[in-house]
């Protein structure tokens, strides 16, 4: 839901500025939102994630990641099926069955050991697979890197997210908070590497995001590199 409002606001709020990157016509606004997100990240998300990592042993963090990953697999499977990848989708749902039962509600990832590989799918990728172009690059408040297509996908992801149905509310917020903390903790190393590697963090992160999303749509087998200007179309078949 939030995603839609944000996109509408961004599109309405700004016109493209000068001769920037054609994939990123809203760079001015994006950079401002990026700075805002960065402040929140540095002062809230990172300290919480670091504290979590210090206090909670790695073994327990694996259980937490597996638990939320298991719920995620339900929707990863659904997205694979929507993309016509029935074998992958069946594999995802087999993961859910094995992990929910023998893996004790998902805290143990027994399915991976049985050879069912975990996939990475979401509605943004499904739209891309169906042929939707990425549209302009967007930085969503708090959610970070996205595009028009992926922002819409994110909206559907959030709308279908079972955690938002959990009641009472304090349990819902607790679970969502825990999942966010776990995710940020898992990304601490990656974000430090980004910090070190980038000359301009905004540009580096944008290009990495666009490259990665393009590859994900093709499940890691994108056609060979095309000129940057026309990169990240939807899947063409």
């Amino acid at each position: 839901m939030r995603g839609w409002v944000v996109i509408a606001a961004l599109v309405a709020g700004c016109a493209s500025t000068g001769e920037g990157d054609p994939r990123d016509p809203f760079e001015g606004v994006n950079r401002r939102v990026y700075r805002f997100n960065d402040v929140v990240d540095v002062h809230v998300a990172q300290p919480v994630a670091r504290g979590y990592k210090r206090v909670v042993p790695g073994e327990i963090r694996d259980r937490v990641r597996n638990f939320f990953g298991n719920i995620g697999d339900v929707f990863i499977g659904a997205n694979n099926i929507l993309q016509g990848k029935f074998a992958d989708g069946a594999g995802d749902w087999a993961r859910v069955l094995w992990n929910t039962s023998f893996g004790l509600f998902g805290i143990h990832d027994v399915a991976s050991e049985m050879g069912y590989e975990k996939h990475d799918e979401d509605f943004g990728q499904t739209f891309g697979w169906w042929g939707a172009k990425s549209g302009p690059y967007l930085i969503l408040p708090l959610l970070g890197s996205s595009t028009m297509r992926d922002g819409l996908g994110k909206g559907v992801d959030l709308y279908t997210d079972p955690l938002t149905e959990v009641r009472p509310y304090h349990l819902e917020y607790g679970l969502i908070g825990l999942r966010l903390t776990q995710t940020r903790a898992d990304l601490l190393d990656a974000s430090r590497i980004l910090e070190e590697a980038a000359l301009d963090k905004y540009v580096f992160q944008r290009d990495a995001y666009l490259q990665r999303r393009r590859s994900l749509i093709y499940d890691g087998q994108p056609p060979r590199e095309r000129p940057a200007e026309e990169a990240d179309d939807g899947k063409t078949r």
């Binding site: 694996d62 597996n66 590989e117 190393d189 590497i193 590697a197 580096f204």
Partner: protein, 209 residues
């Protein structure tokens, strides 16, 4: 008797000299050997485990870097601007880019060194001179992180000219940054930017974890 021994020895020597380097190692074998060797050295080194970044970089310098072709990587990252640079500029760019990539690679390796690696079988014909070697870093409860090495065959063995981490090509990712800097400040501006970045990272290196 001795004559036969002598000729046998001679034959062995001739074979050894004549062979193009000691029976060239395949690219997938090379990646696997070097990765496992480095991960093993990291796990045994108390100082690196305690966060001695300089020592880790030293290790990577010695073990990993000889297998990278940094001139190729720099040229690819620069794109069309590469041809506009003079030899001195090319040399500086290659040096600074190398320093930056080593540090990035060291951080990535330190982050992943305790995970399990899955070395995928090489999908290439024996005659291929440009291949992709696929490695997967397995982590519990998450999709494996793919690390793909693009490698080319040279007279001095197989050399890496791009690394893709999480399906993001490092070389392609630097291309926009490099192009922006060259457009704004020229090739010397790019060199200055790279070198400032490296100096800044060096200055704060010992303090980090």
């Amino acid at each position: 008797m001795t004559a036969r021994l002598a000729s046998a020895l001679l034959f062995v020597f001739a074979a050894a000299w004549g062979a193009p380097a000691p029976a060239q190692e395949g690219p997938d074998v090379l990646v696997k050997r070097v990765t496992l060797e480095v991960v093993d050295l990291i796990s045994k080194d108390k100082e690196i485990k305690a966060g001695n970044r300089a020592r880790l970089i030293e290790l990577i310098d010695a073990k990993v870097l000889p297998h990278f072709n940094f001139a190729s990587m720099s040229a690819l990252a620069m794109g069309q601007s590469w041809n506009k640079a003079n030899p001195e500029q090319k040399k500086r760019i290659t040096e600074e880019f190398r320093t930056l990539l080593v540090r990035t690679y060291a951080s990535a390796l330190a982050a992943y060194s305790e995970q399990k690696f899955d070395f995928r079988p090489l999908r290439a014909k024996p005659a291929d001179t440009d291949v992709t070697v696929q490695v997967r870093v397995l982590q519990p409860g998450a999709q494996p992180v793919p690390i793909d090495y693009s490698m080319e065959k040279t007279a001095a063995g197989w050399k890496v000219y791009d690394v893709m981490v999480g399906w993001v090509s490092l070389v392609a990712n630097y291309r926009t940054e490099f192009n922006n800097l060259v457009r704004e400040a020229g090739i010397d501006g790019l060199i200055k930017n790279l070198s400032d970045k490296n100096r800044a990272l060096e200055a704060r290196a010992p303090a980090r974890r």
